[in-house]
């Protein structure tokens, strides 16, 4: 583990060193490619400007995750309870993912305005699919012998869901949630690019128009950090929720 971490850190430092060195030796203009040291300085010094926008984007992502969970969990449970519902809804679910999210963004601005709602919905649309699919697969993966046992214990569907299917599917659920939260930033930022008054995507568009490329990179860095934070946050929640699995 330590070796892997050291290797990852080594690769990162090497790439940053190459980038920094190339920028200094070739003297690339900073409005084309700023060196990493300038990006880091901008990310820190511009923090008072970036922070309120980052909070807006973070709120959109968190609300998006909440909305996605509110739809995905009952949907996966219903599709598991009623296989005919799964057969009926599967084509629509797949189609919803085949539509490029960029194409939906302008429509959502028209329908929901420049506020948070459109961005929340964008994030939710991106996240809900991996959560629904992984949760459903988790439910389906429950061994037949356990189902028979619960049947013979006289457990109803929802009782079995609470005691057996849900804990059984939790590792799958968290796998889906991890995928979901990492792409959630994409949904929120695309929404902000198309039409917003606040948020990291909005700030990115403003900085890009003024050729403040160092700020654009600094914002990308903030977004990456937010994605990492969400990833580790879900990982922490997973370890807390399925402690039995990690103790095994």
């Amino acid at each position: 583990m330590l070796r892997a971490n050291l290797l990852a850190l080594g690769i990162l430092l090497l790439l940053l060193g190459l980038w920094e060195g190339s920028c200094r030796i070739v003297e690339v203009p900073i409005f084309i490619l700023p060196p990493p040291s300038l990006i880091a300085r901008t990310a820190l010094l511009q923090a008072p400007l970036i922070l309120p926008h980052a909070l807006t984007t973070a709120l959109e992502i968190i609300c998006g995750i909440g909305l996605a969970l509110a739809v995905a969990i009952p949907l996966a449970m219903s599709m598991f309870a009623y296989p005919w519902l799964e057969r009926a809804l599967s084509p629509f679910l797949v189609a919803s993912q085949a539509i490029p999210v960029f194409a939906l963004a302008p429509l959502l601005v028209v329908w929901l305005g420049y506020g948070m709602a459109g961005k929340v919905l964008m994030a939710a649309i991106i996240i809900f699919f991996p959560i629904t699919v992984s949760l459903l697969e988790g439910f389906k993966g429950c061994d037949r012998e356990y189902r028979v046992l619960f049947r013979l214990m006289g457990a109803g569907f929802w009782q079995t869901m609470r005691l057996l299917y849900w804990p059984w599917a939790l590792p799958h659920f968290f796998a889906g949630l991890r995928v979901g939260v990492t792409v959630a930033t994409i949904g929120a930022v695309i929404g902000e690019w198309v039409g917003a008054q606040k948020g990291l995507g909005y700030l990115m568009i403003q900085a890009n128009a003024r050729l403040k490329v160092d700020l654009v990179f600094a914002l990308i860095l903030w977004l990456s950090l937010m994605g990492l934070l969400l990833w580790f946050g879900v990982g922490w929640l997973e370890k807390k929720s399925i402690r039995w699995k990690y103790k095994q």
Binding site: E145, L149, R151, L163, K247
Partner: protein, 248 residues
């Protein structure tokens, strides 16, 4: 007494069994043995209510039941303990799903834990104890069903020698000390001869009882008895003959 009369199950116009009759008297250990693919698992699924029967009736203690899920407990070769619950919580599952008095069930479970040498391990998770202890916990859970009939689905076939021996003793204990009636399906001749009081030899599809052997003596039996070894040879020849007849 368990009575199965005229039980019929047809798949794709091919009868798996047709007009199947079986009677198991109280406190007997009935073992149904047949070659793989003869329809034992389908029969078990029909008994437990996983698959509906096409015709026939099931009676327990003279009363007709839709399936034995209403009146029987279940034991499998896997201990089927839920890894997210402690041993005590696992043993209380039948009381939780059956809507019984949890306080009373808890006292009874603790008594059984003490009797089966599990005291002090109540709060341990299944992976924290040995295979033998997990099997004993599964036995406590089976007893907590409060049902006189126990269905056994190949309970020993995939176990290592030590756990197998320990579980054989536990099954005998179930019958002798806890006064239960046991019905086991298996394709393992050794397992059948060691444990059965009444051994039913099954034919290939459509499955039917081709022979009934009544066994005597203390259980679990030992294979140093020449009579038992001769019986094993005879049964193996009959099963082999059936398989070759189908293949031919």
């Amino acid at each position: 007494m368990l009575s199965v009369s005229g039980l019929t199950k047809v798949f794709d116009q091919q009868p798996v069994f047709s007009g199947f009759d079986l009677t198991v008297t109280r406190n007997r250990f009935a073992v149904l043995i047949g070659p793989s693919g003869c329809g034992k698992s389908t029969f078990f699924d029909v008994l437990t209510g996983v698959t509906p029967a096409d015709a026939g009736a099931l009676r327990w203690q003279g009363e007709e039941v839709c399936h034995l899920g209403e009146v029987a407990a279940y034991m499998h070769q896997k201990d089927l303990l839920l890894p997210w619950f402690s041993l005590l919580e696992n043993s209380l599952l039948p009381a939780r799903t059956g809507g019984g008095d949890l306080h009373q069930a808890r006292s009874r479970a603790l008594q059984l834990f003490s009797r089966l040498g599990l005291s002090g391990y109540e709060q341990h998770l299944p992976h924290q104890v040995s295979g033998g202890m997990r099997q004993r916990c599964a036995l406590v859970r089976t007893l907590m069903f409060n049902r006189d009939l126990i269905l056994l689905d190949e309970p020993l076939s995939a176990l290592d020698a030590i756990t197998r021996k320990s579980l054989q003793s536990l099954l005998v204990l179930l019958q002798s000390e806890f006064d239960r009636t046991l019905v086991m399906i298996t394709h393992d001749v050794d397992e059948a001869l060691l444990l059965a009081d009444d051994l039913y030899l099954l034919s290939v599809k459509p499955m039917a009882i081709r022979d009934k052997i009544v066994l005597h003596g203390d259980k679990p039996r030992r294979f140093d008895n020449p009579e038992l070894l001769a019986m094993k040879e005879t049964i193996l020849q009959q099963l082999q003959g059936d398989i070759e007849h189908v293949a031919g």
